[in-house]
């Protein structure tokens, strides 16, 4: 204390000498203020308190005792404030546990953990599983999750009254151990007024390594989520505006026919598989007829400039895409898409991923035996005018590619990887395939030449996912090395490395305007990165388990992410908030896809279903009445059950026909 005084005096003298009048004044004020609470020698109450505190440092039983008391107090608190107080319990619990481990009371820590883990099992089971493995001080240091937990503070929003209640309790019971933990690790954001509702405690669920504040800060950054200038869609819209009246009425007449064509297409769907290909075209035509270029109703998204130099498109390609766009079916909650399902048979549990080209004509499968196989569905449909069974057995057709071992196959085999292939993606025009593998490489294949063109080496660990950009040429990869990288086809070194995730980057997806990529990670967050400068511009927190799939809405405003538990979350990109979780799947959501005009979301899961969700309702809501967390706004439209076939990938064609692929698995 005297030492302190000496320092103070020294500082004051220094300030006086230098002539810092204001600072000197401040110091003096500070000293005067401090003097009151510091005077604890005269306050017996406080002295006792501090005495207790110092004593209990070693007394591990205090934690157990204190926590159980706090717990029972919380459970018996007022209903209105209970859920807020309950949020305090989890951080207190894990930090008490880690403190005990840190102090070397391993046995007690374990019993403590086992005694109370049930309480948090529901919300935090995966975190608990991780923490369960912490058995010594060194583990705390080594395990990133534990380390980051101990270094960071948890933000808890709490209303004034709950806060008062908690303080009162802590003071009254003098449970210093708990007080210590709370002071050390919890940052209360006390708000006046009513306690917040139960539903928006999503932020508490994920304890991310970086401080909550930085996440919030990041999410303040500006995002230009608008679509690209001069995109084909835009051009089409402009053209649509110039449609003459006669053409418009014609469109309306066609609309009247839609019902007929619908019936026809349904009938044709029921026929045998022999005319499959033909029917597909018919159905396409039928659905295409009912489409109308309805330019006026789509809310005009703002336009942004591309930050990347974009590849040029040949006029023929442009024409064909425009043609597709004109014939697009306008899907809605009343007009659901047709779904064509590609089933992989006899995969012997070896299929790791599948991908479908934009027009649905090519299907690629990545296998655990390092091979990539590509099927040309158009050819399969043609040969022998065949039924499915024939196509399966009839391997003598001359169409088939002759493999190196002389056998004839219905697919093109791409060999080159030396580890399981975890992801494959088609370029927008279907002339290239990228595949990523556990051998840490990404390979570029040409479907025209049936050959490997480039091998991209850069990642140090298995590459979990690779995705072509919407315009082609560029692609993004996600890896076990906790980075995502941006590449261009003509360079063998990555253009950008996005680092920041605390665990594996499991999936990656491009934003519609190619200026951003989104990455989903095992750290339960989704991040949005600026492709140009490689900075993280959004952190989406809310998932409770590893993120497996991502999709961006075509209008660039929304993002959907699916996780291991079957939860799908819709995010508003500009605000970084979750609009609503979509619950319905019971197992891993392997894939999500937006329909081309963004009114429907399709999701495919390991529970052998494709689910269609209505997302128009949310998109149509004006921005000013933005209220998150209304579960009625997004709804499940349809569940399409497959025959014990988990759905691996989904792809909407430009005309809004939905393609799905999965491997038939007998022993689920």
């Amino acid at each position: 204390m005297e030492n302190m005084q000496a320092v103070n005096n020294f500082v004051a003298a220094y300030l006086k000498k230098k002539g810092f009048k204001e600072a000197e004044q401040l110091l003096e004020d500070l000293q005067n203020k401090e003097s009151a609470p510091i005077d604890f020698h005269n306050d017996p109450e406080l002295a006792k308190f501090i005495h207790r505190f110092s004593q209990s440092e070693d007394d591990v039983a205090r934690y157990q005792d204190g926590y159980s008391k706090l717990r029972s107090w919380t459970y018996s608190s007022l209903d209105l404030y209970k859920h807020e107080l309950l949020r305090v319990l989890y951080p207190v619990f894990i930090h008490s546990f880690m403190d005990m481990v840190a102090k070397g009371h391993l046995q007690e820590a374990r019993t403590f953990f086992n005694n109370f883990r049930e309480d948090h099992e529901l919300m935090h089971s995966r975190d608990l599983q991780k923490l369960e493995g912490v058995l010594s001080q060194s583990h705390l240091e080594e395990m990133e999750f534990a380390r980051s937990l101990r270094q960071s503070k948890v933000n808890i929003k709490i209303c004034q009254y709950s806060y008062d209640l908690l303080l009162q309790y802590l003071h009254k019971t003098q449970s210093t151990a708990m007080l210590g933990v709370i002071n050390e690790h919890i940052n209360f954001q006390v708000s006046s007024g009513q306690p917040s509702s139960i539903s928006d405690d999503a932020e508490v669920v994920t304890l991310i390594g970086s401080c909550q504040d930085t996440a919030n800060q990041i999410n303040q950054k500006e995002i230009h989520w608008g679509l690209l200038e001069d995109s084909l869609e835009e051009r089409l819209e402009k053209a649509g505006g110039l449609l003459s009246d006669s053409e418009k009425t014609e469109e309306e007449n066609k609309e009247g026919d839609a019902d007929d064509t619908k019936k026809r297409s349904v009938e044709s769907g029921k026929q045998g598989a022999s005319t499959k290909k033909l029917k597909k075209e018919k159905a396409l035509n039928a659905t295409a007829k009912s489409a109308r270029p309805e330019a006026s109703t789509t809310p005009a998204a703002p336009r942004v400039k591309a930050k990347l130099p974009l590849p040029l498109m040949s006029t023929e390609v442009e024409q064909s895409i425009l043609e597709d766009l004109r014939n697009r079916v306008q899907l809605s909650s009343v007009l659901l898409p047709s779904v064509s399902f590609y089933t992989f048979l006899n995969t012997h549990n070896g299929l790791n991923c599948s991908s479908i080209s934009h027009d649905g004509s090519l299907v690629a499968g990545g296998f655990s035996d390092s091979s990539l196989k590509v099927w040309d569905m158009a050819k399969l449909g043609q040969q022998g005018g065949s039924s499915i069974l024939q196509a399966e057995n009839d391997s003598t057709s001359s169409e088939h590619v002759v493999g190196p071992n002389g056998g004839k196959r219905s697919y093109t085999l791409f060999q080159g990887h030396s580890g399981p292939v975890h992801s494959a993606t088609f370029s927008p025009l279907g002339d290239f395939i990228l595949s990523s593998s556990a051998d840490t490489t990404i390979r570029l294949w040409s479907t025209k030449l049936n050959a490997n063109l480039v091998c991209y080496k850069g990642h140090n660990y298995p590459v979990w996912d690779v995705q072509f950009s919407p315009v082609g040429h560029y692609f993004a990869s996600a890896s076990h090395d906790r980075t995502a990288r941006i590449w261009s086809m003509d360079r063998i070194q990555p253009l950008r490395i996005m680092a920041g995730h605390l665990s594996d980057v499991d999936c990656v997806q491009w934003h519609a305007n190619c200026n951003y990529i989104a990455t989903g990670s095992s750290d339960k967050t989704v991040r949005l990165w600026d492709v140009q400068n490689g900075e993280c511009v959004r952190i989406f927190i809310g998932h409770r388990s590893m993120i497996l799939s991502l999709a961006m809405s075509p209008d660039g405003r929304y993002m959907a992410s699916g996780d291991e538990d079957g939860m799908i979350m819709m995010w508003d990109i500009s605000s970084g908030r979750c609009i609503t979780p979509l619950m319905g799947h019971t197992s891993c959501v392997w894939t999500v896809a937006f329909s081309c005009e963004g009114s429907l979301l399709a999701s495919g899961s390991a529970d052998c279903t494709v689910k269609l969700w209505d997302v128009t309702t949310s998109a149509k809501v004006p921005r000013n009445e933005e209220k998150s967390g209304n579960p009625n706004r997004l709804r499940l439209l349809k569940t399409l059950a497959t025959k014990s076939t988990p759905v691996y990938s989904l792809q909407f064609s430009r005309r809004n026909l939905l393609f799905a692929a999965g491997a038939l698995s007998k022993n689920l």
């Binding site: 590609y342 399969l380 319905g584």
Partner: protein, 536 residues
Amino acid sequence: MSNVPKEAIEVIAQSIGITNLSPDVAIALAPDVEYRVREIMQEAIKCMRHSRRTVLTADDVDSALNLRNMEPIYGFTSRDALRFKRAAGHKDLFYIDDKDVEFKEVMESPLSKAPIDTSVTSHWLAIEGIQPAIPENASVEAPSDGKKAEYKDDGTSVDVKLPVKHVLSRELQLYFDKIAEITMNRSFSVVFKQALLSLATDSGVHPLVPYFTYFIADEVARNLNNFPVLFALMRVARSLLQNEHIHIEPYLHQLMPSIITCLVAKRLGNKFTDNHWELRNFAAKLVASICKRFGHVYHNLQPRVTRTLLHAFLDPTKTFPQHYGAIQGLAALGPSVVRLLILPNLEAYLQLLEPEMALEKQKNEIKRHEARCVYGALLRAAGLCMYDRLKMFPSLLAPPTRPIWKSNGKVATTNKRKASTDNLMQQPPAKKIATESAMGMMPINSMQADVQGAASSFSNTVGGSNIGVSSMTRPLSNDNMLGREVGGRVSKTSTVLAQAWKEDTDAGNLLASLFELFGESMLSFTPNLSFHSSFD
């Protein structure tokens, strides 16, 4: 403290040759081992997820080890999940069954088949949001909420239909064997009656229905010459149909052919003494009862039955017993069927039948008898139909005709008695009249048949033509006292009909022409009793 006990560390240490492991080391190692195992598992789960699987395999663990730059564990490379066995006597101890394989055996065993190569097929999972009912799609259950929920809950597909094994209890098997035995061998015994009663009332018979229907179908086909068995089988069929507790609809398709066979088969039984007429009557009743009971469920049931029977009836190459069966079957189906299908063809058929009944033309006694039986069946069918019509329009025979009716009542009754007592004696002359009159009546009659099928708006013209009929028949029947009397009355009736109740001319007309064809015996079917009681 950790899940890995220090004893495990000690065992492992010993197994790799470290004998002097200090206990402190074991205690320190145990938690670390657990931590490392957890770490490996965490990575393995990631690998599993990226292989789009929900089941962890040994490969995933190997990949995880690989990620940590460790050597994989050899010897567990199977794509399928490992099969753990519970160690006997321990609740929580499992092991992988690792059989010793004789190397020689492996060498000598034939090469196993190469696995089928991967292929891709496509189908429509949904068309505009609706799942087509094709074999590639999961069977769409009726959207009952309970089912859906169940589907969601366990996450696996419930719709994989396992073949349901039909289990018959021993008692039921015994029961079936017993009934089958009695039916085949002891159909005249009292026990058989008991059995029939049991079949008709027992609610527990239901599991046996498919067996019984098969039994009946099988045995009928095999025992067409064995009259008692056929009859017994038909009785069994009737008992089954009578049973309210069983759900026999799905098996009707199997049962019907057998019954129809017993109705219109060429030969039933091999002895002359076999009263196959009775069997046919019985089968006819059975068919009619089935049509009545299930006709509304299976709309094409009765049309199909009638078509079959009509074919038999109209085919002149078929034998008389077959015709008899067909007529009986049709008659049993009700008067409207008779009116629609038999009466239009009656005229022509009687022409065919006539010579067969005549003593002088058909020498074969049996054939003659058969023909008479057919005639009797026709008479009965037509008569029942007439009875029905007259009952529907009681006013047809209201006051104006009453006196005639009264006076004729006596004639009718005597006639009936005669017909019943000496049918054989009576019929030939009656037939003669009928044919005589029929000769003249033919064209008109056929026209009448047309009208029956057509709308009633034609009744006026029919009435007119009927007058013509009567006037034509009168001179014809002159030589016969009885015929003239009848003809006169018919004409009187029909003229009255034509004038007064035009919408009912159909019935009157019918009576007239039937009378022309069958003569007096027709009158026995007129519902005189009821009229008398109502008028007197």
